[in-house]
């Protein structure tokens, strides 16, 4: 009897459980897995997310081989329309400038776009460069060469970083531009956030841009960055959410918005979001994915915070729910 019951339970479970497949950005893989795990525990539905990279996520979403794709750089509204997709942001993250200067230890430095730009253009090569010294009058910077580190693999982290530089530094925009990988004027490439973190950690005089959580876990000092209002802002949950709050999210533009260099007194400038793409022409499939994302927006915040991701602000969530209704894909 027990066996029969068990069999029915398994059988009915198999019939009821939805299976959602997604693919894309590696940056959100830890939180996607966590969400999928908790969601499965609560509802019995399965979410299978493959972190194959943003480029792959976009391509698979366009080819409809997955239920949803995830990307760090948003698609333009035209591209979203062309491929009959819908797009909305799910989670916020930021790049931080981590450095390793043995002489000053964990002292927090101030940096502005020009300083970071010149370092990555190869124009500032020593830590005691007058420009850096003038930004940090209270710190005695050493006469030490700067070891510039960047990502060697294509990455959303690079996309956010170079996008911010393109917006704030004309020379960068003209000579390099932005993308998941670019032609770096100087520096050494390391693989993955962990590669850059480790490289900075073991090279004296090193600097690199990494995902917020990696610098935090490795206890590397990170710079305060000057935002467009002229304030030097430390990266943390509040300043990143500030950037997301002040952004002009627009439903009619499929939330096409880049969070770098946003207005707001306390907005951290090198902030970005991960976007989800769902098929508009297959509403059943989109709804299936949205059942999961509705749960994410309603109950997923605490898991995101546990893993040092920044959840979407409430006003943006409301907009996303309206957006779903408008396009008939609300769960």
């Amino acid at each position: 009897m027990k066996k029969v019951l068990l069999a029915t339970a398994v059988f009915s479970g198999a019939v009821l459980a939805l299976e959602i497949t997604g693919a894309g950005a590696t940056f959100v893989f830890p939180i996607m897995s966590k969400w999928a795990f908790e969601y499965n525990k609560e509802t019995g539905h399965k979410v299978n997310y493959q972190s194959i990279g943003s480029g792959g996520g976009i391509r698979q979403a366009i080819n409809r081989t997955v239920d949803y794709g995830a990307t760090d750089g948003p698609l333009t509204p035209e591209d979203v329309e062309k491929h009959k997709l819908l797009q909305f942001p799910v989670v916020i993250g930021a790049d931080v400038m981590a450095y390793n200067i043995p002489e000053i230890g964990n002292t927090v430095l101030n940096m502005d776009p020009k300083a970071v730009c010149d370092i990555y253009m190869g124009k500032i090569t020593k830590w005691n460069d007058p420009y850096l010294q003038q930004l940090n009058p209270n710190v005695k910077l050493p006469d030490r060469p700067i070891v510039v580190v960047h990502r060697s693999d294509g990455s959303g982290t690079t996309w956010i970083f170079t996008n911010w530089l393109s917006k704030t530094c004309p020379e960068w925009r003209e000579k390099v531009g932005y993308g998941t990988s670019v032609k770096w004027p100087t520096g050494v490439g390391a693989k993955g956030n962990e590669g850059v973190t480790n490289y900075v950690k073991r090279s004296q005089g090193g600097i690199g841009y990494v995902e917020y959580i990696y610098a935090k876990q490795n206890n590397l000092p990170v710079a305060r960055i000057k935002n467009r209002e002229g304030n030097f802002v430390e990266p943390n949950v509040r300043t990143m959410q500030e950037a997301a709050k002040n952004a002009k999210w627009d439903k009619s533009k499929h939330f096409y918005e880049v969070l770098t260099d946003q207005p707001g007194k306390d907005a951290y400038p090198i902030t970005g979001a991960t976007f989800v793409l769902i098929p508009k022409d297959q509403p059943e499939r989109a709804k299936k994915a949205n059942v999961f994302f509705k749960w994410v927006f309603e109950k997923g915040d605490k898991y995101a915070q546990q893993l040092e991701y920044i959840p979407m602000p409430e006003n943006v969530k409301k907009l996303i729910f309206e957006y779903w209704k408008e396009h008939g894909v609300a769960p």
């Binding site: 480029g55 060697s152 693999d153 294509g154 531009g177 998941t180 050494v188 693989k191 090279s203």
Partner: protein, 325 residues
């Protein structure tokens, strides 16, 4: 009478069954050999060619081969830096590995006491069993810092002022560069090389060695004048196999190359190879031309390996011919 006829019949049946089985085996094995040996490489090449068509149209062949710019933002691609990196790191690692591997093989077959041979043999073979990612991590975390702080400054100090050679040791020592990569690559290919060369040495007929000794040759003379000439093609074969591995090695190189699509100006400069560029950029290649350019680079690796192995095979054939006459 009937019995005889029946027996003959069943005998014929058995014979035809045997023939059938034989023919079946011939066809199916032939098919698999054809598929694995001929069809599969051709298909792989065709698919690469098909996927790369956009980039081939856009950049041409000679231009793509000689152009040193790789700019994903402006979609302006050339593969010269990667091809250069692949060829240089392979050749350098072969230069480091070949003498060591041949030395190991000589030691195992000619010099070591009998009880010691299997120990060295197994130890060297175990090197081959270590996954390449481990070599990469070890190189990045342990070897690169040593190279950056000790070996490379020392090399610069000793060789930096020597004309011509000094140029190869310019620039800030970072530990992730051509030199460290080639060094780790050579450690990775030594076991392959040593194993093949050792097997070749073991094939030398004892009578040849004994007659040389009988004529009063020393050990060194026997090795140099009998063993090595007799096994020249075997040695070449070992070198080819290892070159193939060095050409295609990805994981370890990704950690150690520094990943800069530039022609390195010295041995201490970061560089990149074809496989590294593919592994790093494939997942996030977001435009069609970018992706196609990566396929194009893959196609070039295919051609480079083919040519290199082709040349090596040709050399072996020539050596064999020369030895026979």
């Amino acid at each position: 009478m009937e019995n005889v006829a029946e027996a003959q019949k069943s005998l014929r049946e058995i014979k035809t069954r045997g023939e059938f089985l034989e023919r079946f085996l011939k066809i199916s094995l032939g098919f698999w050999a054809l598929f694995a040996g001929l069809l599969f490489p051709i298909l792989a090449g065709l698919i690469l060619l098909y996927e790369a068509r956009l980039a081939i149209e856009e950049f041409g062949f000679i231009h793509f081969l000689t152009y040193t710019n790789w700019d994903p933002v402006r979609e302006d691609f050339g593969a010269a830096t990667m091809i250069f990196g692949t060829v240089v790191s392979t050749i350098l690692s072969m230069l480091i590995a070949a003498p060591v591997a041949i030395g190991i093989a000589i030691f195992i077959t000619e010099l070591a006491p009998n009880w010691f041979k299997p120990i060295v043999s197994t130890a060297v073979e175990l090197l081959a069993a270590i996954p390449s990612i481990i070599y990469g991590l070890w190189g990045f975390f342990i070897l690169a810092p040593i190279m950056a702080t000790k070996v490379e400054p020392w090399l610069q100090d000793k060789l930096g002022d020597v004309p011509l050679i000094g140029k190869l040791f310019q620039g800030a020592p970072t530990g992730v560069d051509v030199l460290t990569t080639s060094l780790v690559l050579s450690i990775m290919i030594i076991p392959f090389m040593a194993a093949v060369v050792r097997d070749a040495f073991n094939m030398v007929p004892p009578i040849m060695k004994e007659s040389a000794y009988g004529l009063g040759a020393t050990k060194w003379e026997v090795i140099r004048k009998v063993v090595i000439p007799y096994t020249a093609s075997g040695i070449a074969g070992g070198l080819i196999l290892s070159a193939g591995r060095a050409l295609g090695e990805t994981m370890a190189v990704t950690f150690l190359a520094g990943n800069r699509p530039e022609i390195p100006k010295s041995l201490l400069a970061p560089f990149t190879t074809i496989t590294v560029a593919l592994a790093n950029q494939f997942t996030e290649a977001d435009t069609d031309v970018y992706l196609s350019a990566l396929y194009y680079v893959g196609l070039l690796l295919y051609l480079v390996s083919f040519t290199m192995l082709g040349i090596a095979k040709f050399m072996v054939l020539r050596l064999e011919k020369r030895w026979k006459t």
